[in-house]
Structures are given as structure tokens and as C-alpha cells.
Symmetry: C2
Subunit: 768 residues, 2 copies
């Protein structure tokens, strides 16, 4: 056992695989998603979207649509606030409807509300929009050129974000290195593909807006929607329904919310908008395609001495969460390996394509693919084993990255060793038959972000727990957002553990800006650590109050009294016990409602670099993944047959959910690595914005997965936790590319690793 685990204790509720609190609701179909909900008097909203990637709006004639029986409202930019919104801090560049120009195929132009879906769809076809089509910017590598059309007047040369950070002396380090490589890699625009599309029902009643929607963050929705419509936050209530997947794409309010709200205000009736699949794809906000050039130097022994990373990132039409994506692209590179000299230079550029934003792993997966690929190439150059070179450079606990990420727990080396052992690496590496190969990829990720997305001093999470008057149940009020990842379950376990009761005793009220305490929501793998802290503190406040009263009732010293799974006992006096419900009931009788409160604000992290913060999270996960592939040299088809993933995620709250998260992230990484890419024609029109032609992994594609763990305890996390939800996407892509190389000796630099690319590379190799 490593030192880091010595703080582990025996837990009663956490660490056990309880079924998810909503498992039966979802399995039986009882769970009602926004699209399932009908409210009396409800209208159906539809958005008219631009057919052009770049065009000027000359005229909109809505008269025919308005005349259609059943149509209750037709609105365009002139009917709604022109306030610009967005989600990146102060980089607001969207409006509810396009005002002068449309910037991508799918940009919002007008909307209707009608008595049914069919009428609304028909009405859209009756809106006459006259456009002056403009030449689009489609190639991100040319977007900054002087001859290119300009998308936003406020972003010269179509530069959305420019970021340069330099730590140490990279040039010197590279100059002095034994071996230096420069390689260029690229990724594509992959999308979240949540099974549930974006959806919202807005009501406008008595000057108050109430929005039920599929969201990752009721708080950010509330903040931005209030801002755009000029309402106070207390007059905007955002309530999460069941969410059928978010993966980053539902962190910012979309047309579903803004437009349904505007239509509700116009009609005085509730309005529902559910995106169709084409809208989900074109609204996008998913992965940025990155063009990454890495120059990395090592010593003769394989020690990394410095790295210079350069990025050109395709942001699409609007900023969305692109500032953070661009930052993470560069900032996460030095997380898992130890070197001091690092520089990154990034440009996020605008193109007339769907806007990119946050997607599981945020900006980090493609750079990680690049780095893990290059590290294998370096190892080969040096004649080293890929795992050996990683062990040599692996980050150690209680160290700091050059860009001031303070790493506390880190069992990365143990993860590498375990991955080697359980995969049979030593027996397989270089020893498999000619069509088979094995490869390793690694990753690391943040456990929540130290800064909110907009400038605010609010704590990041709050929690309130109320024990019932009988003491039989406890209701946890949390603004944390279960988007399918299981946070409700994990927080219920943490609440029960902190109080000293059972998992089944916890009931939840979640993610409603009016009835639950503030929480920033589900993104950046923050909830287990951040919401968890608030919940743990609230639970402990209850435990403390109960134990104080129990001590009086048992005539014992409070420090001698403890509780475990509802039994309150005096240490060393086995006959002095009281059931929790007895004491909780007595508390209510004597003192009133038994309530606990908690909050979490991250500690001050890192410093500042030219005004922008560095050092980003209270804690970091680490993972090593070995993958085995089988390649058909005739067709270039790659089958991933086996994956061994070893994660350092701190204390596990629910092993079943944890491994499910690993598998989900791994399959999502597989999609990005092997299959997925949004494709556009020469005018910027999407060619595969549907589930038939946009290829995600199915049950037939996925490998056999062994998900394993290393002992770990994170002092900055409640009960020792850190993240798992996003981190497991990161090792996947590189490990596949490296396994393909091991199998057939070809290196693919561009994801996805399609049969066509593999086949072409095989032909190339054969020619040489």
C-alpha cells in the first residue's frame, strides 16, 4: 500500500456499489425527460435556421407564417432583446436570433410557436428570408489569413482566442536535449451525441420565467437568461428534468431555452422546444478540431527536458466555451509527466461552421493523443519500452507542474505498473502475431475548476440536508446536476456516510434554482469533489447535532459517542446504544428541524500568468491504459479487442458507477479515436448531421474492458475522492494509435483512425 492510502478508513456507505437512485426510473421508462412533459395550454416552438454558412440577412417576411391557423407567434431578432450572450467569461458574441448576418448553417433566424408540432414545422416553411450569400471561412488553417472574410467585427483576423504561456526556458532545454522531435497531429469536430436532444419548456407567468430543461447547470442558465432578458435572477427559475446525457453540450443555454422563453413571453403560454437531431449536431458546442504541433526534447535516458506545443484550433462561428478549451489544450500537457520547461502557443479561430465548446475532457484529449503518440515515437527512437519511458517521466505525488497545478495524490506510477501487469504487456509487447498489436496511452484530469465561468465570489457548491421529524429519512437539497453520470447516487452515499445513516435513507431534491442551494453544476468533473465537500459538511453538521444530543441522552461525553448506519453508541460500552431515529425525533421535539448546511469554495490555486489564472483544480486524476488491436491489412479495418484501464481516482464512492464511467468515457474516446467526425461540403453545409451517417461505437464495436484501480487517497477531496468522469477519455486515443503502430508499423497522426487512413498508411509503408 502506498503512503497516500494510509489515510483511508473503513467506510460504511461509501465504497459500495449501490444501484443508482434513478436506476429503476430509467430502466422502466418512468423517468420523464423534458420532451416527455406536457403542460396544459402548451405550445410547440420551432426555430428557423440558416441554410447558409455565411450570409447577410436582407429581409424577413413572416406574414404568411403568421396567417397560418394554429400559429400563435412568429418572432425574429426585432422581437427579442439584442443583448449578446455566451458562456466564456465576458466573450459574449451570440444573440437570440442572428441580427445582420448568419455565421453557420443552423444559425437562428426566426421562430414560431404553434398549437402543434406539425403546424409549427409548416409555419417555418412559410417564413420568407432573403439572404445575400457571403463567402464562408471553412479552413481553420487559413482563417487568420488577410484575404479571408471576417466573421465578427470585434475579432480581427478571425482570432477568437490567442494564448501564449511560457514556463522555464524551452528553447534552451530543447537546444541542449539529446533528442528532439517535432510532429504534427490533428483531431476532428466530434459531437457529444447525447441520446436526448436539447429541450426546454418555458413558462412566463406574472413576470416570472420558469424553465424546465435538460441542463448541466441550472445556475449558469439562470444567470445568463436573467441577464439577456433583463430579469432579476430570483425571477428566473431553472429546473432540471431528467437529463439524457450532456457531456459538456448542455452547460450553456441554447436556443431551446432562449427562444422558448421569448415565445412564452410573447404568447403568455408555455412553450416547448425540442431540438431535432440535425439541430443538436449543428448547434454542436462539442469538440474543437485541433491542429497540434509538438516539439519535445529528451535526454539520452529518455527523460523529457522540454516541450513546445502549438495549436490552431477551429472554434466555429461563436466563442461558446472556447477560451477554456484553448487554455486546457495547452495547460494539460505537462500534467502527467514531470518537466520544467514548457511553452504553448494557441490560436482559436472562427470559421463558418458549428461552434465548438466543451466536450468530455474539454480541450485535452487531442493534445493528449498527440503527446502519447509522440512519446511512443521518442521511445522507439531511443529503443526504449513505451511503459519504461512513461515510468521514468511519471509525475510524483506532492509536486507542481510548471504552470502551477499543485498535485497532491498521484499514483500514476502504480497505475502504469498495474496496467503492465494485468494486460500481460511484457509477454505481448512486440511478441504478438503480425496483425495484432498492443499500445499504451495515459492521461490525467482536473477534479473541478478553481474558477467559476463568470466572475463571481460565490462558493462553488452549497448543500442543505433536512432530517425528517421521525428521523427515518433525510432529504438532501443540492444544486448538483445528475446528467446520467450518477452524481445523485454518489452524493446520497456521501450524505449517508457523513451523517451515519444508510444510503436508502437519503431522498433528494436537486437542481432547481428556487428550492435547492446554489451549485455550479456538472462540468469539469467537479461534482464528486466540490458538491461532495458541501454535502459532507452538511451531513457532518447533522451528525454533530445528533451526537451532542445523544451524548446528553446517553449520559456520555460527546467525544465518546459515535454513529454507524443509524446506530448511535458509546465507544467501549456496547450496551449504551440509541437508534438514530430516536435521537433525531427528540431533536425535532426539543430544537426544531434538524438541518445541516455545507458549502465548498476551492482554495486559492496557483498564481497568475499575464493576468490569466494558472493552476486550475484542487486535485488531479491519473490513468494508464493498455489496448490491444487486430488490424486487417487488406482493408485497414482495426478491431480493438481488449482494453486494460487503470485509474487513480482517489477514494471510490461507488465502484459500479465508477467502472461504468470509465467504460463510458473509454467508448466515447473510442468513437473520437476511431470513427467520429462531422463532415461539411464546400459551402459549409453539414453532410452527416444525423445518427445514420455520424458513426459512434455500438455494442458490436466495443472491446473487452478491464477497468482497474490503484489505491489512492486525495487530501483535497471529501473522503479522499477525485475525478473519474472525463479522465478516462484521455488515454484511449493514444493507446489505440500506439497499438496500431505496434501491430503493423504505421503511424496515424490524424484522428479518427479510419480504415481508409490505415489502409493508405499501409500502402505508403509498403511503397517505402
Amino acid at each position: 500500500m502506498s503512503e497516500a492510502t494510509t489515510q483511508n478508513k473503513e467506510y460504511s456507505v461509501i465504497g459500495r456499489s449501490f444501484p443508482k437512485v434513478d436506476a429503476r426510473d430509467k430502466a422502466t421508462g418512468r423517468a420523464r425527460y423534458t420532451g416527455d412533459i406536457k403542460v396544459p395550454n402548451m405550445l410547440y416552438g420551432k426555430i428557423l435556421r440558416s441554410p447558409h454558412a455565411h450570409a447577410r440577412i436582407l429581409k424577413i417576411d413572416t406574414s404568411m407564417a403568421e396567417a397560418l391557423p394554429g400559429v400563435k407567434a412568429v418572432i425574429t431578432a426585432k422581437d427579442v432583446p439584442s443583448t449578446m450572450y455566451g458562456i466564456s467569461p465576458a466573450r459574449y458574441d451570440e444573440t437570440i436570433f442572428a441580427i445582420e448576418k448568419v455565421l453557420y448553417v443552423g444559425d437562428k433566424v426566426a421562430a414560431v410557436a404553434a398549437v402543434d408540432d406539425e403546424t409549427a414545422t409548416k409555419a417555418l416553411s412559410l417564413i420568407d428570408v432573403e439572404y445575400e450569400v457571403l463567402p464562408p471561412v471553412l479552413d481553420p488553417l487559413r482563417a487568420m489569413d488577410d484575404d479571408q472574410p471576417q466573421l465578427h467585427p470585434q475579432y480581427p483576423r478571425n482570432i477568437s482566442v490567442e494564448i501564449h504561456q511560457n514556463f522555464g526556458d524551452v528553447d534552451k532545454a530543447l537546444a541542449e536535449a539529446y533528442h528532439v522531435r517535432t510532429d504534427t497531429f490533428s483531431g476532428t469536430r466530434t459531437s457529444h451525441v447525447p441520446m436526448e436532444p436539447h429541450a426546454a419548456i418555458s413558462k412566463w407567468e406574472d413576470g416570472k420565467l420558469t424553465i424546465s430543461c435538460s441542463t448541466q447547470s441550472p445556475h449558469y442558465f439562470q444567470y445568463h437568461i436573467a441577464r439577456v432578458f433583463g430579469l432579476k435572477m430570483g425571477d428566473v427559475r431553472v429546473m432540471k428534468t431528467f437529463v439524457g446525457g450532456g457531456f459538456g453540450g448542455k452547460l450553456e443555454a441554447s436556443g431551446a431555452e432562449y427562444v422558448s422563453a421569448a415565445l412564452a413571453m410573447k404568447t403568455g403560454r408555455p412553450v416547448k422546444i425540442v431540438f431535432d437531431r440535425w439541430e443538436v449536431f449543428t448547434h454542436h458546442r462539442g469538440r474543437h478540431p485541433q491542429h497540434i504541433t509538438l516539439t519535445t526534447g529528451v535526454t539520452k535516458e529518455g527523460k523529457i527536458v522540454g516541450c513546445h506545443a502549438r495549436f490552431i484550433i477551429d472554434g466555429g462561428a461563436y466563442t461558446s466555451l472556447g477560451i477554456a478549451s484553448a487554455y486546457y489544450a495547452g495547460a494539460m500537457i505537462p500534467l502527467i509527466y514531470m518537466f520544467d520547461d514548457y511553452r504553448f502557443d494557441g490560436f482559436r479561430v472562427h470559421t463558418n461552421l458549428p461552434s465548438c465548446g466543451a466536450q468530455r475532457g474539454h480541450g485535452a484529449p487531442q493534445p493528449r493523443f498527440a503527446f502519447e503518440s509522440q512519446l511512443d515515437m521518442i521511445a522507439k527512437d531511443l529503443g526504449m519500452d513505451p511503459i519504461e519511458i512513461r515510468r521514468l517521466n511519471a509525475r510524483k505525488p506532492n509536486t507542481m507542474t510548471p504552470n502551477e497545478f499543485q498535485v497532491n495524490s498521484c499514483a500514476f506510477t502504480e497505475a502504469l505498473d498495474k496496467a503492465r501487469n494485468i494486460s500481460g504487456w511484457d509477454e505481448k509487447k512486440g511478441k504478438l502475431s503480425s496483425d495484432k498489436g498492443i499500445g499504451i496511452g495515459c492521461g490525467g484530469f482536473i477534479s473541478g475548476n478553481g474558477y467559476a465561468i463568470y466572475r463571481t465570489r460565490l462558493p462553488h457548491s452549497g448543500a442543505v440536508i433536512k432530517v425528517s421529524e421521525q428521523g427515518d429519512i433525510a432529504t438532501l437539497y443540492t444544486g448538483a446536476v445528475d446528467i446520467g453520470q450518477g452524481s445523485d447516487t454518489v452524493l446520497a452515499q456521501m450524505a449517508a456516510e457523513a451523517i451515519g445513516i444508510n444510503y436508502e435513507d437519503i431522498k433528494l431534491v436537486t437542481a432547481d434554482t428556487e428550492t435547492t442551494p446554489h451549485d455550479f453544476g456538472a462540468y469539469a468533473s467537479r461534482q464528486t469533489l466540490m458538491s461532495g465537500w458541501a454535502v459532507k459538511q452538511a451531513g457532518e453538521e447533522i451528525r454533530k447535532q445528533v451526537l451532542e444530543l445523544a451524548a446528553e441522552m446517553l449520559e456520555a461525553n460527546v467525544e465518546d459517542v459515535d454513529i454507524d448506519r443509524r446506530v448511535i453508541y458509546v465507544k467501549g460500552s456496547p450496551d449504551k446504544v440509541l437508534p438514530f431515529e430516536r435521537v433525531a425525533n427528540e431533536f425535532f421535539i426539543m430544537r426544531g428541524p434538524l438541518v445541516g448546511r455545507g458549502k465548498y469554495a476551492p482554495p486559492k490555486l496557483g498564481g497568475k500568468f499575464k493576468g490569466a489564472p494558472v493552476g486550475t483544480s484542487p486535485a488531479y486524476s491519473f490513468a494508464a491504459q493498455v489496448s490491444q488491436v487486430e488490424v486487417d491489412e487488406e482493408t485497414g479495418q482495426v478491431m480493438v479487442t481488449d482494453v486494460w484501464d487503470v485509474h487513480d481516482c482517489g477514494q471510490v464512492i461507488n465502484p459500479m458507477l465508477l467502472h461504468a464511467q470509465v467504460e463510458g468515457a473509454l467508448f466515447m474516446g473510442m468513437g473520437e479515436a476511431m470513427y467520429e467526425a462531422m463532415v461539411f461540403d464546400a459551402n459549409g453545409k453539414p453532410l452527416n448531421a444525423n445518427l445514420g451517417e455520424y458513426r459512434i461505437p455500438t455494442a458490436l464495436d466495443v472491446p473487452h474492458v478491464v477497468s482497474d484501480l490503484v489505491d489512492s487517497y486525495e487530501p483535497a477531496g471529501p473522503f479522499g475522492v477525485k475525478e473519474v468522469g472525463e479522465g478516462a477519455t484521455l488515454p484511449t486515443m493514444g493507446s489505440y494509435a500506439n497499438a496500431i503502430y505496434d501491430a503493423i508499423g504505421v503511424r496515424i497522426y490524424d484522428m479518427p483512425l479510419t480504415p481508409e487512413k490505415v489502409w493508405r498508411a499501409i500502402q505508403e509503408r509498403k511503397r517505402m
Copy 2:
């Protein structure tokens, strides 16, 4: 201004007529009652009810009903727990379905759940029940006779409740009195007639029962339903929907809840049951018909020296809340007049008629009608003015009734004087034209009951308030139950006043056993005082936390800092101010969720009388009402033309709601006094269980009402409040009877005061 009002202070939020929080929802039809709600997969339940008043069930054949397509379940007593339930403490005598015998027309025999209402109705007709019809007990005055059939084996001689309480030496007092009268009065079985019938939707999911229903007390429903089905309370969640009137009839769970729950358990699908109007009437639980004999003695000057009250009370088939009704019938008599020697003897008997229970005013209105009638007769005997005799005997503040009701505030004399003044009594009494008359009636009522309905040490009310992280709104979590009377509004005003913010800032989460703190609910006019105390305490806990932090921020002593309508200021330093939201936001940042908690348990009241408690409420309201009538001597038709009601209800929270409550209670009293009675045929079959033939007052019937108040401050109430919701029923009945006497010189002893009775009395008078 009386001494009692000197504790009044200037309030900012209470004392003002804000619109009800749900006014727009109700006015616009947005409010969704249980009957309006549809949930996915929902079935429709219907109850098969006995057509006989008294019969043995010989056989039930459900096979044809089960075979009907669309029928999902048919259940009888053998399919459900046989646990006896009820609502009176430990007097449980009902089962979900009748087991051996049915005891009234409408008793529950079987039920079905089907895919729609029509199929369920059809299925009922296919259930074949074989009965052996038994002779019914229909006359309460004969129910105790030895020759009568027995309804319940555990209640010999059909005696449901027998109660004898004797204070002082009544026989001596009456023997020594200057004048003694004995008169007998009676009332009828009137029903609540809520516009919304009883309704419930039950879900049984994963071992947990969730019931959305029209209820006055989620807590009692939860307690009893859990008990009957053998579940822990935490696994039974009861949620109030909008309630379209309760008036006492929705304080106990009905077949709507028990049967829908049983059907949901059987089918695994949500089941909705909505009573039809016939079921509402036959389920009843409304007013007990009482036969009241009063023997009252007075001095030569009109001072009451003693009273002996005897009651025979028709309870119908089951106990329901009849123990309390029987107690209140006798116990409330000496509340408003001061005399020491008092005895009451009551018998509540079982008949094969619908069960009687709690209805606005509970057991008190008919005895009050009797006493107020008799007091007028005594005044006439002595040649005194009716108001003078009341003034002479009127209860004074800070006195105790013989049965240990501790009266604090009491502005009854002031109410009498004001009623005399505003009605023009002195100009009218005995001076109106021969078809017109004026009369007075008085009343007094409890402000909540000192004892819960079942034996428990739970406080009576709890409240939690959470201020939002921006400090712009505050969410009040209360188990108090708005059944139309406006308690949500009143509690929101009290919360805002206690915190120091505005009425509009308060949002509510109410009456849900899982998400709101415990409260016993809406009955006995308890919520403004009892729930109000809990809310006030929760609000003050927030105020205290905010002012402490504000004092730090303003660098002032905390005792110098105060708040009014969101402005926090330092007394004497007009420039030192902070907005509430700024401090509340800072509190969240520094300390986490800003939460206040409150509870209320009544003080120990009165003592014990032969084991049963005496002294019942923390505070008592008083009222005097003058009514003017016009009588058509040809037809006996009485028109009530004017009413002047003067109430002593302590501090008023919302004058508009208060006067609406007075009017509602007054019109309900008018119905009982003038029109209403459930009528049965010789076999106990109801003849007018519908809104066409059961006559309630309409807009055309109601008099012009002046509702007025006297200054009053109740030290036992939060902000000085006491009740108004039920008390205003009490003076009405007597004042009408007395006005009729004043008009035409006939005395009607039996309510309702129908044209037939008045006409017959006129003929009688003419004959004499």
C-alpha cells in the same frame, strides 16, 4: 385603544392586503387540482359502494368485472390489509373495504382499476355482491335503546363516545338561580360541499408509496396510510396538490387515498381516484346532527350562574373525528360568557348513516346556536336587551373558563359595543316594521389545538427558510396546508416580516412530507398561530444571522443594526445602509447556505379531567354578529338582508383575506342555519346527495355584510395573531334565529330555519 393593543407595533409587511400567492393561478385556471393531473401509464380507479344502510356481505363475485377488457385489477377486502384505521385517537373502526358488514349506503365494498373512467364504471356494474339486508339504525335518539341493531361489536348500545364533565356545583347554582330555563334545540347533518371532490393519485414504485392528493394534512395521511399498509413513514410520501376546499372533510384519508394506494400496489401503475359528488356526500365526515338540551340559570340581573348541557349526537357509521366533535360540543359553551358552574353530558351514537366528523367550527356551532337562542329567550324573560345580557356576562381578558381554557386577549365586550354601533341596534331593536327583525349572536373559537390527533411528542409545526445565494429571494419550506384559506399568503407575509424583506421575495415549497418540515396541517384554525410561530422563528433566525454579519460589515454594534423591507441600516446613522441582498450574498460566500429554522409546540394547557385533557388552545377568538332579516309571513320565507360581524382575531396579517374568511364562514353558517340538511329515506338511502337538491347559499341569497374588527393583540400568537377561519361560522346561526324572533315573534329550535318551519311556527303562534 384598549390595553391589549398597546403591544402593537408598526409592521412593514403584515397588516397589508397583498393578493394571495396563488390568486392568479386560480383565477386563470393554471392551478392544477388532483383531478386535473394525468401521469403516464395512469389507471382510473372506482369504488363499488354499498346500496344498503346495514347488510351482511354474503358473497362477492368479481369474475365478470375481471374479464372485462381494460380492467387491470378488481380488489375486495381479501386483497388488502384488514388493519382498522380512523382518525380519532385509538378509536379505529374502519377498514379499506367492509369485511363482513356494510354500515351505511356508500360503504366501500370493492374497487377496480381500469384504463379509463368508462371501463372502470362499467366494471363496477359487473361485480356481483350478495347481501343479507339487516334492519338499520336511523334514529339517533333511539340508537342506544336495547332493541336496536348493533353496528359495532366493540361499541355496546351503539355508543361511540360518552362524555361527562362537571365543573363546580351546577345543581346548587341552578337551584339558587333567580330564573332557570330548559330548552331543546337541534341541528342537522350538513356537509362541507367543497367545490373539489376528494381525489388522489397513488404511485407504488420500488417499495415506496407516493400519493398526490387533496388533503388538509399530509402528515396525518402519511401516518395513517403507513400504519395501514405496514410501511415506514419515510416510504410513504404525501404531497398536497391545489385543494379546492376542505372545511374539515379532508383531514382524514378517505377511500380516494387508501383504495388508490391498494390498486397501485396491485397493478404497479399509478391509479387516480376522484370521488363523484354522491361519494363526497355519502363519505361525509361533516357536521354531526346534535340534539341539545340546555338548562341555564341566571340571577335577577341576568348574570349567568350555571349551565347544564346535554347532547345526543348522531355520529353515523364510524367514529371519524367524532370524539373531538363530542368534546367540543360541550367544551366550547362556557368560552365566551363567564360562569363557574358547568356540566355537560354527551353521547355520540352510531347510526347506519354517513359518518360525521370535523366541519368548520367542529362540534361548536349547533351548541352555540342553542345557547345564543336560549340567552335571547332568557333576556326576554328578564326584560333585558339581548346585547346588555351579553355585555353583562361577556368574558374578560386574562380569565379562565371552568374547564381551564386560559383566555389571554379578549375584546369581546368591545366587539359587542361595535356591533351595536355599526348595526344601528339601538335605533332598530324592536322598532323595525313588523316583517323585519334584528338579532344578535356571538361566538368564540380556538386558535389551534393543544394536542395532536394521535399521541405524539412532535412539535405541531416546523419551518425552514433558505435565502438564495444572490439574496434576492427566500424559499419558505412549510408543511402548512393552504386549502384555499390563504395560509400560504399569510405565512409568506409573516416570513417576510420576520426576515425584514418584502412579501414578493418569498417563494414557497409546501405540504410535501418528503421535502417540507413537519406540520400537522390545516384544522382547528391552527395555522396562522402555530405554523406562524414556526415561520416567524425561522425568519428571525435568518434576520439574526444577517444582522450579525451586517454589523461587522457596517462596523456597528449588532444591537444598533436593523432591517426593514430589504434595507439594513444603523439606527441614527442614516448613511450607513446595506441592501439585504448584499449581506445575504456575503453570508453565502463566507458561511454557506443562509438557512433559518423554526418550530412551535403549544405550551402545556389546562389540566386533566378523568384522564382527558381540558384546556385546549393557546388563544381564543371572539365575535359578535348582528343580523337583520325580512320575513314573508305568507310563505315563511326569510331573507337575511344585512349582517354586521365584529371579530376579535388579534393582529390581522392580511385584511383582505381576513374579511374574505369572515364572509366565507358566515355564508357557510348561513347555509347551515337556513338551508342545508342531508335527507334520507326510511332505509337510510340519501335523497339529496347532489348539488341540485342539497341547497347551499348562492350569490342571490347572501346578505350585505359589514365585516369589522376590534383592536386586539394576542400575546400567545406570533405578531399577536389568533384565529378567524372557523370562528365566524358560530355567531351566524343564533343571530338569524334571534332576528326571526325579533321580526315575527316565533322561535325556531331546529335548524335549518326553513320556510316550512317558519310558516308552521307562524300558524302555531296565530293559533295561540
